[in-house]
Point group: C2
Chain length 469, copies 2
Amino acid sequence: MKKYDLIVIGSGPAGEKAAVKAAYFGYKVAVIEKQKKMGGAGVNTGTLPSKTLKETALYYSGKYDRGLYGIDRVLKEAPSIEHFMQRETLVSSAVEHEVLQNLFNHKVDIYHGSAVFENAHEIRIVGSKEEVICSEYIIIATGSYPVHPANIPFDFDRVHDSDSILNINRFPKSLCIIGAGVIGCEYATIFGTMGIEVYIINDKKKILTFLDNEISTELVKQMQENFIEVLFDTKFEHIKVPPHSHLPIDVKLNTGEILHVDMLLYAAGRSGAIEGLNLEKAGVCIGERQTISVDAHFKTNIDNIYAIGDVIGFPALASTSMDQGRVAVSHIFKTNDLDSLPKIFPYGIYTVPEVSMVGMSEEQAKAANIDCSTGISKYKNIPRAKIKGLNSGFLKLVFRKEDLVVIGVHIIGDLATELIHYGLTLVEHKTTLMHIISTVFNYPTLHDLYKYASYDGLGNLSGRKIKKD
Amino acid sequence: MKKYDLIVIGSGPAGEKAAVKAAYFGYKVAVIEKQKKMGGAGVNTGTLPSKTLKETALYYSGKYDRGLYGIDRVLKEAPSIEHFMQRETLVSSAVEHEVLQNLFNHKVDIYHGSAVFENAHEIRIVGSKEEVICSEYIIIATGSYPVHPANIPFDFDRVHDSDSILNINRFPKSLCIIGAGVIGCEYATIFGTMGIEVYIINDKKKILTFLDNEISTELVKQMQENFIEVLFDTKFEHIKVPPHSHLPIDVKLNTGEILHVDMLLYAAGRSGAIEGLNLEKAGVCIGERQTISVDAHFKTNIDNIYAIGDVIGFPALASTSMDQGRVAVSHIFKTNDLDSLPKIFPYGIYTVPEVSMVGMSEEQAKAANIDCSTGISKYKNIPRAKIKGLNSGFLKLVFRKEDLVVIGVHIIGDLATELIHYGLTLVEHKTTLMHIISTVFNYPTLHDLYKYASYDGLGNLSGRKIKKD
């Protein structure tokens, strides 16, 4: 039986980084991957594909640079669905190749097949060839999968989950999305940007409930301008797929209305991918929604078994998952370079427009009884945004009144997911508005938003503000 | 005679921000502007125009997204010079309008004409109407202008300075640029991106001498791939403009070679715009290259007269100039919100590709006897860059070996001028590589460059590095 220092189950962002880090420090590592392709949802079905499709949709639409530069660039011909998917396929395969290369470079053994625990140290690999390997430590990084409720008639032709939507063989004429979480909103704006009529069925009063209210409201407003209708406080009652594809799918709502749409995407939940692992043989406890419970170092209830990434649930981001892998390895092998995941980290939502946040929303700060105020700057007032024709979006700072310390940054607009990192350092270092206004930013850049939001915040406090829209 | 608390001479980035800030705090302020348009070089001839032309050139070229998205966007027709200049004109006029609006909103009085000192408190305005106004304090923010050496036969038709290049009425078939400073390099890459053959005559061994060597070398490499030839250690001896415009301009070099080019841009120096101010009447001392010497609070040798922006020389950036204005006002009126310009600030060079830096270059650190090492990450290895098809460029961290503190950040590539601001906080807060690797960045973003450069740096120290290109 082959013996390892570490077995990692799953080669997604979490598993890859954990395996490579352990190998980098000289340990003998195996990775078990069930899918044909390495990289998990981060590479193949989740993170990178939707972000790439977003860029493709923006490129095709031409909407955001039309009329700016005196003469327009136009698509040579109407894009087919194959054109639309081409970049996504290329990027996924390039990054999958990198994952493989990274594992090879670090001399990690790769096993293809399903992992089944025999006990807390031995794992049977069930693939084209069956074998048992053992290890001192095991990390579970099996990710998550889209749930399939019984009342959704998935046929993966017109009714899709967030995996199968990547395999559509024609553009939908119209699309109903169930669920207004990150995945639902991202796909809504991808298809909306392509000029396709989209409905989002959302059972709450707000989309992306963790966002600052002003940001969430602005996103809905911009969605509406982009062929997307968001239904609030609404549930579906029944979905009827007709036998012929030229007839619409009927989605009956609890409001009595019926939507007639061409395709449907169910994006209302994912579950931890633990089925078949035989976790009970290892004694690992299972939590809610099929997730595995872990401590701050990502250790399960069993001393030598760790779990990281989507399989442990929140926040289920590729970014945090990678670092969970690195933290777990740091504890297992006492490399002492990474004790725990930082408490302050950004969220990025790759909608059109992009949204990103770090720290507290205004509502959270008020709920925590923090005496706070805010400052806002709009893209359209910033020279860099004028050059690029960016007419919408804003940056909002939430700060404590007593000492002007920034406790939250919220951005909706172009490059929000990049710009937020400066904001991350503001919250990390408890930076004050006075420090921001005394900072020199390159000019012209979008980072000027930080300076003008600070001036706006100071103006709000002093009452000496000169109003401008 | 009208009496003010503050007279500001010049309405460029420095003057505007100074005037508006003083007015914001309730002081009576006048601005004197000699040009028809408000905003100075920042708006009309320098900062924004070249940055806008750069975006236009990138949009037209299509080079950086060709073949990425399955089907290409192409220009509807070949752009004329009018098309090319259209966005630049629009952006300049929009920002000029904002400057005017900002001054109006703050009830700043605007005088059109040349300012002539009568004494340290009184200024004669010579315009269509002549009058004298006086003030307790005066700020000189008159900017700079391109120098015109006698051996350059400027005709503003084929032989240009960096102002008149904005008025060309046709694309040059080829262009010789004298001077490899920021302006020369920016215009070289703008025209190079448009597919125009460009030569840069550079009397030094390096372009942009303040840059880290590796960055400067990479910029030259990418220029060469972009129709630009950089001549090092070269001077021109004689420029001959023939009588007919279909004949080439001959530029004789000290190497014996002769360049035959269609147009010439002289971009080898600017001088402080102090002519006609009658500074001697106020007793203000003049320094090198017609600049005004000031102390750390931007006060001249005369107690009530300050000077800010390009007219005081280095660094002559719009970004720093604005804050010089704010600092000066803070001292004049003791608003106590901004004591001095921060010692650490970024430089942004809006070439194709963009370059930005903060803190020390590797060469500076070594010259200062700091025991340092570096870490590099390449765009092409970062998922976000793969999505956008960014195949070149890198980020370089310079850090102290003893405590792994980052002391310099250098970026060449897409969005470098934005990405540098996270690096600015690293240098400001003396952040270590260990802190960077324990930071969670949105994924996928270009900010991942910071994490991978940190790993590279740690790998360089440990010797445990796994080489990958």
